[in-house]
Each structure stands twice: as C-alpha cells, then as structure tokens.
C-alpha cells in the first residue's frame, strides 16, 4: 500500500505532518514524532512580535538601564551568550535538521509588512525544507476594506518570496469573504500551498477583574469539518498543495479530509493531549481503513469526495446549512 503524498513539492512517506506546536521545541519529542510516523514536521512558530520584543529587550538591557544614579549603572547583567528567540529558533532548526531524516518546515508568524519577513532567509540558511507563513491578522480597523486585508497577505508573501527560494505554504484564517479567491491570488503570487485554517487565540473577559485575557482551547474533531469543506471546494480548482489543520484527532477525521482533497493532514491538539505516539495509531487507522476499503494508495483516495467529484456537490455549500439547522434538537433542559 502506498501512503506517500506530495506536499509543497516534497515527497512525503505519508500524509501526516504534525503542525506547529511546542512538540518541536526539542529534538527528543520531535524524534518521537518521527518514530511515530510523522512524514514531515512543522516547527513551532517564530513570531514577529517575539523578534520585535527581543530586539527591544536587548536594546533596553544593553543601553537603557540607566537611571542616572551614581551607585547603579544598570541592574541586570547582560550575558554575552544572550540569545534572541530568533537565534534560538535557528539553532533548534539546525538541531532538528541534524537529528531527523524527515523534512522540517519552519514557521514564521506575523502580520505587518516589515523587516521580520527577511528572517525567512535565515530560516532557509539554517536548513528549512520549506516555510510556513502564518499571517495572524485581525482586521480590527473597521475602516479597512476586505480587499486590503487580502492584499496584506499577498504582499507579505511576495516580500518573503524575495528572500527565499524554498517552497512556501501559507496558513490562512477562515475569516475571508472569499477564501477560494484569496487562495487563487496567493497561487498567482507564487505560493506553493495553503493550510486551512488557522485557529486564533480568543479574547475572554475575566469576570472577577473585568480584564480582557487571551485564551486558547485545544481543538475538537468537530472543527475539522470546516477545513474539510474548503479543501473539498478547492481541490482540483487550484494547482497548489492543500493541507488541513485544526481538529484532526482520529483516523476518521483524517480520512475524510484526504477524501475531500488534502495532500497532507496536520495534527496538533491530539498529539499534545495523547503524546506523539497518537500519530502512529491514526496512521494505522488510515492503513486499516484503506485495506478494508481496498484503496491502493493515498493518491487514489485523495479528493475522491471533493466538490468536483462528490455525488452531491451542493452539500458543501449553503444547502448544507439549512439541513443542519432543521435537524437540530435542543436539549431538554433548554426552554424553547
């Protein structure tokens, strides 16, 4: 049975690629992921804000500790070995490359059109096989038009492409009025693949303090259906790699997504909860299902239930919405 797939031009042994998470922070857990069958690994994200904060901190430590008092020039000693998170990241990337035989995809995360994008070059130099570009942008300015938001994604991609030659994948938010059209624009701008979808930290209100605090909850299987829909819609309509991220916990989740047309399936929450070894269980599940259903290869099943191939293409569109609502029964405790 051939589980291999092609993603961002990289030939992978199977379609399971753990997404950016703390599991890639050290070589040991990364190795466990590889041993569990990961076909490639996406490193944790290097954030634009981290780079900027580090630079500010460094500047402060080196040059702005003065308080103007004769007894104290400064307070915190600055060690020569002071490493910014960028340097740390590059070092970790090199170690992962040295320790693993699977491709390592580095992840850059930011939203402004600025100098941080240039660091893609350093990631490439440190051995990244590809880059994931995660534009984590909230269009909070209500004067800003949707097209300007899309332009930002395209511009950042173009800027990154000026600095690197390795393939680039973009991780997208679901909050676009026309996801498919954006993907087409990105394709035109040279992207090699997209991952659908990014999960945002959500602000929450602390009722004790009335302060707004960020939260991030782990995903659940139900969320994978969002990515599945859009991959199904895009499959066969764009010429770039498609990846699903968010909510893939079981082999069933993964299989559905492959049927919808994904080249790879990303996993994160399930691995954080159950450990890297969960990946081999899911992989086994895929293998068993393929055996049971007599598929020879992943390529064969990929996209077989995409919108262009599905028996009922409309099911991926609005009709689907109506149907779900009608079938929803409230729990008994809810007064209606």
């Amino acid at each position: 049975m051939d589980l291999s797939t092609t993603y961002l031009g990289l030939k992978l042994a199977n379609p399971f690629v753990p997404s950016a998470s703390p599991l890639s922070h050290n070589v040991d857990t990364a190795k466990r992921l590889e041993d569990a069958g990961a076909a490639a690994i996406i490193m944790y994200s290097l954030f634009e804000e981290q780079i900027a904060t580090d630079e500010d901190n460094l500047d402060h430590l080196m040059h702005r500790q003065d308080i103007g008092h004769g007894e104290a020039h400064s307070y915190l000693p600055v060690h020569e070995a002071y490493k910014t998170r960028l340097e740390d990241y590059l070092e970790n990337l090199s170690s992962l490359k040295a320790a693993l035989s699977i491709p390592v995809i580095a992840s850059l995360n930011g939203s402004s059109i600025g100098g941080w994008v240039e660091h893609g070059k350093h990631l490439q130099e440190a051995g990244a096989d590809a880059l994931e570009l995660n534009v984590y942008y909230i269009a909070a300015d209500i004067e800003q038009e949707g097209v300007a938001v899309e332009d930002r994604y395209v511009s950042i991609l173009r800027e990154l492409k000026r600095h690197v030659s390795v393939p680039i994948n973009m991780k997208l938010s679901p909050q676009f009025s026309s996801v498919g059209h954006l993907v087409k624009q990105l394709e035109a701008a040279g992207v090699n693949g997209v991952s659908l979808f990014n999960r945002f930290y959500q602000p929450d209100i602390d009722l004790a303090t009335l302060q707004v605090t960020p939260t991030l909850k782990l995903s659940s299987s139900a969320e994978s259906l969002l990515a599945m829909r859009w991959i199904a819609i895009l499959f066969g309509r764009v010429g770039i790699s498609l990846a699903a991220t968010g909510g893939v916990h079981t082999s069933q989740d993964a299989i559905k997504i492959l049927l919808a047309g994904a080249d790879v399936v990303h996993m994160c929450s399930a691995l954080l909860v159950h450990g890297p070894e969960r990946l081999s269980e899911v992989l086994d599940g895929l293998r068993m299902w393929m055996e049971e259903n007599e598929y020879d290869s992943v390529e064969q099943l990929k996209g077989s239930v995409s919108q262009i191939h599905a028996e009922n293409p409309a099911a991926f569109e609005r009709a689907n919405y109506m149907k779900v609502l009608e079938s929803f029964e409230p729990p008994a405790s809810v007064w209606r």
Binding site: I67, G68, G70, H73, S74, H79, A81
Partner: protein
C-alpha cells in the same frame, strides 16, 4: 610580543581586566564605587573567560566585605592567586584580615576605588579616607592616578607582591578615576605573562597549606616572642620599594611606560614643590606645566608607593632647590596635627636633616593642606592658589583648598577663572540629560566612536543625581589631539558645546554659564524653531546674545516617535551633536554613528538598527539653527529652587544645593554634627509627572486604596466638616463621606499634589471603582499635568491647610479609616512606582508621631536621607519620625540601642516619678506609670499627662525635677523601627538581626525585600530567588531564597509577617498594626517590586499579585500572643497558589532572561523553583493547621 591596542574604558574596568587575568579566586561584595569591578569579574567568569593560565577564575559573592576578606585570606593561605575589590566602609571591614594577610607575608593585590568614610554623613564619592585607615595593616599602598595607570599598576602590583610577599592595596580615586572613561593602551596577555614568571606563582602556591606538607600558621604567641615575630618581617618591607621599582622598570621595558615610586615633574630648579597622590596629581601636573612655561620655579612630586614609605627615594625626587613644600592630603583626621602624607613628608625631611643630611641647603618650609574630600573639585585654579600661598611670607599651614571655610578660616581663596594650557585645543562638551533618557549611554558611545575610531583622544565623566526618579545627569566630555588628563569638571565659559536634552531643565539649571564665547547650544524642544527662542528664560537669552552662541533646536521626541524609537531620544541627540559640534567632519561622523549602531546590534537587532538609522537620518532634517535676536525678550526668569513659603534655612542652604550651587556654601552653612531639618522635600517642586490622577468624586467609593499604594505620598485623603471647606478654591472637590467610619455630614476629599506626583499611575491601577458602562473609566484617571498644575496647586495648598482628622477617632482596622492619617514620609527621591516606599509611608501614617528609625544603608537611606531634601516630615505639633543611618552592617544593633536608651530613660523617669510622688501628685504619677498605651487614645492620654507633668515640674526647683523634665517624653510609648533592605537583613546584617530578635526587646524590623541589593545596582543577595538573574548571579541563582520568616519563627517569641501591599492591602495594614503592638521583636518581610526585577514599575501592583498568586510570596502572620489563647500562632493568609510560578516568572526579565542566556539552566531552575514553592506552601499549611489547644491547657495547668 603581541601589539597592544587602544581601548576606551573606565578605571574600574581597567583594574578588573588585569585582576581577572591574573587571579584564580575573586571574593567580592558590592559597594560603590568599586561594585562594577566585581560585576565585571563575575560576568567574565560566567562567560568562561580564562585567566593567563587557562583557568576561569572562581568569583564568589560573600555576605559582607568582612566575609570577602576572610575568604581571600583562606584562598591565599591555600595557595591561590586571590583578589577582591572594595571601597570605604568595605575596606574598613577588611582591616582585621588585612593584618593577618600581611602578617603572614601573603602575596596578594586588592583593588580599592578610594571613597569617603561615613562620619557626619555618608558619601559615596572619592577621597583617601579609607586607604589612610589601612596604612597600619602592613599592606603596601600603591596609588594610580588615571585610567591608564590603574591598568598598569594592577599588573605591576601583581608582580611586586609575588616577588616581595608583601600584600598590596592598589587604590585609585573613586568616581574620578573609577568611573572616568578615558583611553588606555591595553596590556596584552604576553606582556602580563612576561611580568609574572611562573616560578613566583609556584612559590606562592607552595607556601599554601596542604596536608601533604603540613605546617601550622596562626598561632597564639606570648609576651616572650610576639614582639620579635612582629619585627621579623622588616627585611621584606625594606626590600619592597626596590622590588616595586624593579617591577616598574621591567614594565617600562615591555610597554614603554616608565613609572617611579615617586615621580617629579616641573622645573629642575623648583623652589616651590607640591607633593600629592591620586588623580589630583594629574591636575597639578597640568598646572605645573602651565606655570613653568611662564618661568615659575614650581614642581610636583607624585607619590606612587605610599607604603612602605621610602624616605630616601622621596628625598631623591624633590629638587634640592626646594624651599617651600606643600603636601596635599585627600583625607581628614579631626584632632590631628596634620594629615598622614604631610606628616610622612615632614618626618622624612626632618629625619634627613636631623641626621645631618644635606639634600637641602636649609630645612624647607613645609605646609600641609586638605583638598578634594568626597570628590570635591580640585582644579588648576585651586592648585595655583596653593603655589601662590607658598610664595607668601608665612604660608598658611593645615589649610583647605576647594571650600570656603568661614568658621576655622583654613581655606585658601582661588581664582575660579584660571585656566591652564592643557585645556587649549581641547573641545569640551556638556550634556544635561535625564538619568533615564539614555544621555549617558549615548555619550559613552560617542566617546568610543571618537576614541577608538579616530586618532583623537577622548575623556568622559558623568555627574549623577542623588534622586532616582527624574534624576538629572550632566556629562562632561573632552576631545583633543593629545591624551587628556584634566581630572576635573568643565568649568564656566569653557564648553564649546552645551546640549539640553530636556526642555524642563531650561528654568532650573544655569547651563549656559558653562558655554564659551562662540560656542554651540543645542536644545531639544517640542516647539517650532521660530518659537524656541521664546521658551528661554531671560538670563539664558542674554547669555546666548552676549556669548554669541549658535543656537540649534530639534524636536527629538517627535523624531524618535516617528522613527519608531518611542521616547528614546539618545540617538537623535547624539546625531545632532556630531552634526554641529564640528569635532568630526559631518558625513564621516554620521557614517561612524551608523557603523557603531550596526556593530552594537548586529544581526540580533535588525529592526533596532533600522529604527536607529531612520532616527539618525530624520535628526538631520529636523535640526534647525535659530536666528538669535539682538535683544533678550523673555518675560520670565529661572525658577527658584524651592517654593516661596520655604523656611529660611531651606532657602539659604537646601535651595542652593538643589540649584547645583552647593559648592559655594561656606562651612558655617553646614550643620556641625550631621543634623538636618525634616520635611524639606515638600519645598522642592520637581514637576516630574507628565500626567497626574484626576479624581471622579461621583464614582469614588472612598476605599482608601490610592493613598495607600502611592509611593510618593502624592495623593491623600482627608475627612473634614462642611464648614472647613467653605472657602475652598473653585475646583477643589469634596463629597459627603460614605460609610459608617465617620460621623454623618463629614466631607471627604482625595487630592493630588500635582507638582510632587511622579505620574506612576499606581493609584489608577489599584482603583477598584469603575464606571458601570465603561470599565476603562475609574474614580481616578490620568490626565496631562500642565493644564491641571495651577488649579491643583491651589487645591493642594488648601487641602494641606484643612485640619487633620482627630487620630483618636480614626478607625484603624480598615483602609478607609487608616488612610486619612497624615503620612510623615513624602515626596522622596525613590524611583517612579517604587515598591518599598508605600511600606515606610504606611508606618509613618500609623506610628510616625512616635517613631524612631534606624535605617540601614541602601535605597531606603538614600531616598530617606540623601541631601538635598528629606522626605521624613513632622506633623503640625512638630512630632514625626526621628531618623538616623549608622552603617550598612550594624543597623539592627543600632536600633536596639535606641530601644535600650528609650527604655532606660523611661525607667529612670518612672523612678523619678515615684521619688517625686508627693510633689507631682499620687494619681498623676500612678496614671503616668500604669497608662494603657495600646491605642491612639491611650497614647494621647499619656501625652496630655506628660504635658501636665511638665507644667507641674516647672514650678519645682530641684535636680530631680529638671532630670524628670528631660526624660518625661520617654514616658509616652515610642516605636522603634529598624528599616533596611534584604542585602542588610539577609546578608551583611543578618547576625545583628538575629541577635536583636533573640534579645526579645520591643523593636520592629522592617525588611524592604527587593530580593537584590537594589541601591548598588541589583547584586544577588540571599533573598534572591531560585532562577533569578542578578549581578553576581549572571547564570541564575541556583539555590532557594533564604526563608527568613521560618528562621525568625523558630524563636517562638518573634512576631513575624510576610506582606505584599499591592496584593492584600488590609492584611498589610493589619500586620503592621499587630507587629507594632507586639511587645517584643517583630519582623516584617515586605515584598517590594524593584526596577532591578526587570519590570516597569507601573506594574508594581500586578507583580505583587502574581508573586502572591504563584506562591512566590506566602502572605503569613506569626503572632506569639495567639499561642497563649490556644490558637496556632501562624496564620497562613495565602491560599494555595493559583497559577504556576512560571506564569509569574515570565513577566519579569530577571527570570525570563535566563531562557535567553542559559536555556537548560532556566528549565531546570524553573522546575526546582516550582518544587520549592509547592513544598514551602505545603509545610506552612501543615504548620498553620497544628492545634495549640493542648499546649495552652498544659500551660494553664
């Protein structure tokens, strides 16, 4: 031999760089101005920098200088090359060991940044009082005069001590040399190795103790042999001068720099000669060159090797033509007939002549003088005055130079305008900046750019403030084609370039007094160039016109903001300096700044580089030359330094010090015994805040939290009658007070002191009252100060004049009640958002009118008692905290002394009362003796009785009556407070704290726990927690914070509490009340966020919450009185931690930086810290849950 290179460094770095290369063990303890030597050594070792022999020196911080000296002694006795760095009282603490080290002929060099000793006052600045106090120890004393010499002598001393076996204290002037930035030729490793042959080092090692070749040292000797033993070392001391000179000669062969034990400069046939050591010698040399060039027969002898003193070599150095000699000492020995160097010179010459020596035709007339105490300026004008005095018929002896002594008339007059040739062709620049605006850093950077990047020479010296919030720095920079010595400040009419980095200084400092004719004045001004002229005070305008200054302005804040630099103006101002000072060609200068920026940040800070470049480019386009009108048009003058209502003393003396004119005050103006008036901070309106809080009286719930957290007592509440507010200014706000704490109909006001507020915003942060429809609007909201200043100033004055609420009626158990008490600690110079001062202020609100404070040296003694102004204040009755600072190490003992004296005097008073019962009246005597003073009414009752007693005593004519009068105030309960930081309580003063607790006496020990030595720059103490980075713990502290509370609790009779005011305010209030009421020793460990934690102190409250919620701080109270009632004395006020330690640690750079420098260590220490927290909380929980019922019952049986 490898080439040496030119480096631009401070004196401390020059010493430390050689010491670190040439030692194996370095035992250190922080003390200004030597701390940076230890810090650098520690940092280098942490970076695995090797010494000459390929080993990384072991650097260890000790609990005191006494501890450091003991460790040095031990390491030396075990054969390691060992050193330490110290100053002032630190050196004094080393004296016992110095005798031992010298007595055992142990090779060692210690490096001393010489500093004043605390006498009538502490001073961190430079003179030779400390080194003069160790001249009898047997240590050799070697003096270096400038940065280059510091480096050179550090090595020469190392060679000489190894060869001679006599230990050496190598010293240089604190601040003037230790902190001066200047250029030096670096000594290469090869040169050092050539001067330190291995056989000498092996010989030292072989003298070390070892069980493989055992010997015994440190015996006790009896009258039969001790004396002989003491004399046995004479040959070593006799040989020492030749050995040092030989080392100097060999050094000269290697480097080309030749030194002598005594060195002569000047006319070969000099008749008048000055003898001096230290940095002052360089100033004398400049003056001698100037005078001899004009034909004067003057000369100078520089003393290098002061001990062992070599009279023959001294004699050989002084020209035989000398007929008048002045010996200058940078120290003072009250009651002596001359200072040490003077007496040594007199003795040397007298011995020579009395023994028939013929060096001089006749005995020269020798006079001694004192100069430069506590870094007092020592200028060519002063030196010329000394030479002139030698010309007079009867030159004054035991004179002083540099002050105006109108009391003992010791001082010589001098011409402040006298200048020497050495200043010609040197470009002098002065910069007035804020401590926090990066001016000093930028200037150091400019010196490096010029010093290391061009053929020019550069010198920098920085004058700092004694305040921490809003500190002013004045940078003095010199640039020239020849090496620059000039160890004195830039004088009046000398500066080619004067820059004012903060427009607020315009009305405060006479900056342009320094400008030379035709010079350049650069002002950072938010106004358009055409408006800038109008912003200058009249005097300044006139100076610009008279001196024909070129006047430039730039809106540096705007440029910084637009280039993404925030409020960091240093690069902008530096660029302007290079662009218009003319020191370098403009384009070349800009290119060099950019190179420096790139070299500094490199790959690590790409966007910082971009921002800096943007700022540099924008600076040039925003720099404007202002056309100077022909006439001064300004309608305003400089601001007076203190308010108009200040008392005469404050106007005449404090005001002059604030205005920077303290040097001009005569001796008679200064109190003779170090006694200064209270409450003078209130007269210095510093106007630091850009924004101040505005009270929304409709939202306020009168909780009292804002005055509680204010570090500067700049927001207060008062409760008063409606009638009292009848004539209130129009904008004065007051409303009927809510709640049952006060009688109906009373009014309350929350008022800010607009010109004393520092704008930290803590009051707004703590304010719990939100607008229900807009949570960002609170009962306090920050608003720009300038628009509010006038009205609020009037309101503040009105508020102050409202009557204080009757303390007998205050309900002290809650914040609302207690916080209307008047603080007697206000407007200190502590940092904006300081985490310590709210505790002190609280204590003064509760007990200030009967409080006596022993204050350990440290931040709290600096913001508490550093001139010019004093934050401790008295109330309307004239009562307030009496305060003194003894030393760093002895504070607990010092405070215990207060207690003993007060108790003894009260005992004596009671005995006299008993004796005078018939005359005073039985009932009054009984009431006075038996008074219950456990609360405010009780104390006030006793005060009334004491007043009555005094009235009766007035009418009695007896010795007892007079004596009782003089002790009667002690019959009122007086509250002894022993205050200091963790460096004192956990480390240097721990033995005293422990002993005072064990004494059982009624004292209150308040430990302001910042978990580092805050005042000296954040060095590790035993309160530093696991995983925190601090100086001397650059790799993160590997062991847990000492649990002082548990140690104190172990006594059983000590009231112990741990508090964090920002986390639980009422608990803090209660703990203070309980501690003070406890009739035995109380220990309050007060968690105090500090800038040394690497947090912005606008988050002072949040950080305390995080510290408590994570279990880093356990709030607890241990009250021994509870055990008597069958209750567990320990109340654990902290709940189980609700957040992991890491969540707290990530918010403070002291912890988070470890991930950036030592990631594996960080991970390990974070886990360790968490385990320690879990364990500690668990144990406290167990302890607090124990039943004491049975114990109490057994006690009753």
């Amino acid at each position: 031999m490898s080439q040496s290179r030119k480096v631009t460094i401070e004196g401390n770095e020059a010493a430390a760089s050689v010491a670190h290369k040439t030692n194996e063990v370095i035992a250190i303890y922080p003390i200004t101005p030597s701390s940076t030597m230890g810090e650098m050594a520690d940092a280098w070792s942490d970076q695995s920098r090797e010494n000459l022999w390929g080993a990384v020196p072991e650097v260890i911080e000790m609990q005191s200088e006494a501890g450091a000296a003991g460790t040095v002694h031990g390491a030396l006795q075990t054969g390691a090359l060992t050193t330490t760095f110290t100053s002032s009282q630190g050196l004094l603490l080393m004296i016992p060991n110095m005798y031992k080290i010298a007595g055992e002929l142990t090779s060692s060099v210690i490096h001393v940044a010489a500093r004043s000793l605390a006498a009538q006052a502490l001073s961190i600045f430079g003179d030779h009082s400390d080194v003069m106090a160790v001249r009898q120890t047997g240590f050799s004393l070697l003096s270096s005069n400038n940065v280059q010499e510091v480096m050179d002598f550090a090595l020469i001393a190392q060679r000489a001590t190894l060869e001679s076996r006599v230990p050496i204290a190598h010293f240089f002037d604190g601040f003037r040399t230790s902190h001066e930035v200047n250029e030096a030729e670096e000594i290469s490793d090869d040169m050092m190795r050539a001067l330190l042959p291995d056989e000498l080092i092996r010989a030292h090692r072989e003298r070390g103790l070892s069980p493989d070749a055992p010997v015994l040292r440190g015996t006790s000797q009896n009258p039969d042999v001790y004396f002989q033993g003491r004399e046995s070392v004479n040959p070593y001391y006799e040989a020492m001068p030749d050995i040092v000179q030989a080392a100097m000669d060999q050094f000269a062969e290697l480097t080309g720099r030749q030194y002598g034990l005594f060195e002569y400069e000047g006319a070969k046939d000099a008749e008048r000669v000055l003898i001096i050591m230290g940095s002052g010698a360089d100033a004398v040399e400049e003056t001698v060159e100037h005078l001899t060039a004009r034909g004067e027969k003057v000369g100078l002898v520089k003393v290098r090797l002061y001990r062992p003193f070599a009279p023959d070599r001294l004699l050989a150095t002084i020209p035989s033509t000398a007929i008048r000699i002045a010996v200058l000492d940078r120290s003072k020995e009250p009651g002596s007939d001359g200072e040490p160097l003077y007496k040594d010179v007199v003795t040397a010459i007298a011995e020579h002549i009395s023994a028939g020596g013929s060096h001089f035709a006749a005995m020269p007339r020798i006079v001694g003088g004192r100069y430069g105490l506590s870094s007092k300026e020592f200028t060519p004008g002063m030196i010329k005055a000394v030479f002139d005095e030698l010309n007079s018929e009867a030159p004054k002896n035991h004179f002083t130079i540099g002050i105006h002594d109108d009391v003992s008339h010791t001082s010589l007059d001098w011409d402040a305008g006298f200048r020497v040739d050495a200043g010609k062709g040197v470009t002098k620049c002065m910069f007035f900046g804020l401590g926090s605006d990066g001016t000093v850093s930028a200037n150091k950077n400019s010196i490096k750019i010029i010093g290391e990047g061009t053929d020019l020479y550069a010198q920098g010296y920085f004058v700092y403030d004694s305040k921490k919030a809003g500190a002013v720095t004045i940078s003095h920079l010199r640039f020239g084609e020849n090496p620059i010595r000039s160890p004195y400040l830039i004088g009046d009419d000398e500066a080619h370039f004067v820059a004012c980095h903060q427009p607020v200084f315009l009305e405060r400092y006479d900056m342009l007094d320094h400008a030379e004719e035709g010079g350049v004045f650069l002002l950072n001004s938010p106004h358009d160039p055409d408006k800038a002229w109008g912003q200058l005070p009249r005097r300044m305008q006139q100076q610009i016109i008279d001196k024909k200054l070129e006047f430039y302005v730039i809106d540096a804040y705007q440029v910084a903001k637009e280039s993404g630099m925030g409020r960091r103006i240093n690069t902008v101002m530096q660029t302007c300096f290079f662009a218009i000072s003319g020191i370098l060609e403009r384009d070349a200068a800009i290119a060099k700044i950019k190179q420096a920026v790139e070299a500094t940040y490199g790959k690590k800070g790409k966007s910082i580089v971009e921002k800096n470049f943007a700022a540099i480019d924008a600076a040039l386009s925003h720099l404007h030359k202002v056309e100077t009108p022909a006439k001064a048009t300004s309608g305003f003058e400089m601001m007076p330094p203190v308010t108009g209502n200040a008392p005469d003393f404050v106007k005449r003396i404090t005001g002059e010090i604030i205005a920077g004119r303290g040097d001009g005050l005569p001796v008679s103006a200064i109190p003779v015994d170090g006694t200064w008036p209270l409450g003078t901070a209130a007269f210095e309106k510093r106007n630091l805040a850009l924004e101040i809080p505005v009270w929304d009286e409709d939202l306020c719930i009168h909780c009292g939290k804002c005055p509680f957290v204010c570090p500067h007592a700049a927001i207060r509440s008062k409760v008063f009658s409606t009638e009292a507010a009848e004539n209130a200014p129009e904008t004065f706000k007051h409303v009927p007070v809510k709640g049952k704490e006060f009688e109906a109909g009373m009014q309350i006001s929350y008022q800010v002191a607009p010109e004393d507020c520092t704008g930290c915003g803590l009051c707004v942060e703590i304010c719990p009252a939100h607008d229900k429809s807009n949570v960002s609007h609170k009962a306090l909201n920050m608003a720009p100060q300038p628009a509010l200043r006038e009205a609020e100033r009037e309101n503040w004055d009105f508020f102050l004049n409202l009557p204080e609420y009757d303390r007998d009626q205050i309900r002290w158990n809650g914040m609302k009640g207690a916080m209307i008490a008047e603080p007697l600690f206000e407007f200190s110079g502590a940092c904006v958002g300081c985490g310590e001062t709210p505790y002190i202020k609280l204590a003064t609100q509760l007990f200030g009118d009967r409080m006596i404070v022993a204050n350990a040296t440290g931040c709290s003694s600096i913001y508490g008692g550093n001139l010019p102004t004093t934050p401790y204040a008295a109330n309307a009755e004239g009562r307030g905290p009496a305060w003194n600072n003894s030393l760093f190490e002895d504070n607990a003992e010092f405070g215990l002394g207060f207690r003993l004296a007060i108790d003894k005097q009260a005992d004596y008073g009671r005995a006299l009362l008993a004796r005078m019962e018939a005359q005073v009246g039985g009932q009054l005597v009984r009431e006075l003796i038996e008074a219950d003073q456990s609360d405010e009414p009780g104390i006030h009752g006793q005060r009334r009785r004491v007043a009555e007693l005094k009235g009766i005593l007035k009418g009695i004519d007896s010795v007892d009556a007079r004596n009782l009068e003089s002790v009667s105030d002690r019959l009122v309960k007086q509250s002894v407070w022993i205050i200091g930081g963790d460096g004192w309580a956990y480390d240097i003063g721990f033995g005293g704290v422990d002993h005072v607790m064990a004494s059982g006496r009624d004292v209150n020990i308040l430990v302001l726990d910042t978990e580092v030595y805050s005042n000296t720059g954040g060095q590790m103490s035993k309160a530093t927690p696991t995983g925190a980075i601090a100086k001397f713990a650059a790799g993160g502290k590997p062991v847990a914070k000492k649990d002082m509370a548990r140690i104190a609790m172990a006594y059983g009779h000590v009231y112990v509490t741990q508090v964090a005011f920002g986390s639980k305010d009422v608990l803090t209030l209660r703990a203070f009340m309980e501690a003070e009421s406890y009739p035995g020793p109380s220990l309050i460990i007060a968690y105090s966020p500090c800038i040394a934690h690497g947090v912005d102190l606008s988050h002072c409250i949040r950080q305390q919450d995080l510290a408590v919620n994570s279990g880093h701080v356990n709030l607890m109270r241990y009250d021994p009185r509870r055990a008597d009632k069958g209750l567990n004395p320990l109340q654990l006020d902290s709940k189980k931690p609700t957040i992991p330690f890491k969540e707290f640690a990530e918010t403070e750079t002291r912890f988070s930086m470890l991930w950036r420098t030592h990631p594996q260590q960080a991970a390990r220490l974070m886990t360790k810290a968490q385990n320690e927290i879990d364990e500690r909380h668990h144990q406290l929980q167990q302890l607090s849950a124990m039943s004491y019922e049975k114990l109490a019952q057994e006690g009753e049986e």
